[in-house]
Symmetry: C2
Subunit: 136 residues, 2 copies
DNA sequence: TTATATCAGACTAAATTAGTCGTATATAAC
DNA sequence: GTTATATACGACTAATTTAGTCTGATATAA
């Protein structure tokens, strides 16, 4: 039905929470989960993906936690989607070189070209929206 | 992951098939399903939704089938999405008057406003694309 | 040494989407 | 009238995806 993943929602909320508390050196998953009402285990997984994508940095051990590694105005929602979910893909055939596996109709696929244009524009919308615009 | 429903894909393929064969009075679900490789029962259900939304008209009984009730250039992909799937809704809180059921964070929902703008633009993209543009 | 944090990945549950089935009704052809 | 073939309708099941949970490891401050 064309909706964004909960993982993207939760990530935005978590990053907003960290951004709002930037004076504190680092913030734990536990605190964010409690304050933002996000399932702890799920959020913990998302935080790790955000670290892998260099969006936040972690500090391990007691008193550990996370802090931002990028300014909210430099992080696009599309970056976030790529980090914690997957690239937008309107249909199965929206891949670089679709095989018969991806699309049973490659030879006469009337959907691929027109929909890929729409897909690009949708991606553009998310690329042109930064975390800063969302959290302010 | 932001993808369009199979029901929308199948509907486009079916409408294209009917459009390509407009000289024939009406075309059966069986023929479309076979030629376009769409599960018959599923397509049958979609055809009925398209009838309900006045996109096609049906003729019952033997030799029955469907024919277009609207010119391809006057049918937008958004109309199709509304007919066979559901309105685009990026998050649960994208409803007119969100309750606590829709969004556990209504009081401080930083997502609703910015994402609803993006959602409107996405809808606009599908509204500005007609069936004709797809099938040509 | 202990408490509390991240890290990693397998696993389960819930929800959504796709597809199927059974039965009723309409109509052309015979 | 009977038969064959079509749509109409709605319940049901299966498959897939998404969301959430669990188990165990490592890191580090106190």
């Amino acid at each position: 039905m064309l909706k964004i993943a909960k993982s993207v929602e939760y990530s935005i909320l978590a990053l907003r929470y960290i951004a709002k508390n930037q004076e504190i050196e680092c913030i734990s998953t536990k605190e964010i989960a409690e304050k933002e009402n996000i399932p702890y285990d799920l959020l913990a997984k998302l935080m790790q993906r955000l670290v892998k994508h260099k969006i936040i940095v972690s500090k391990q051990g007691k008193l550990g936690g996370y802090s931002l590694n990028i300014k909210p105005e430099n992080l696009t929602i599309n970056d976030l989607i790529l980090a914690v979910d997957q690239k937008i893909q309107l249909t199965d055939c929206m891949v670089v070189n679709p095989t018969i596996e991806d699309c049973g109709r490659i030879n006469d696929c009337c959907l691929r070209n027109p929909l890929s244009k729409i897909q690009d524009k949708i991606e553009g919308l998310f690329q042109n929206t930064t975390l800063k615009e969302i959290i302010n």
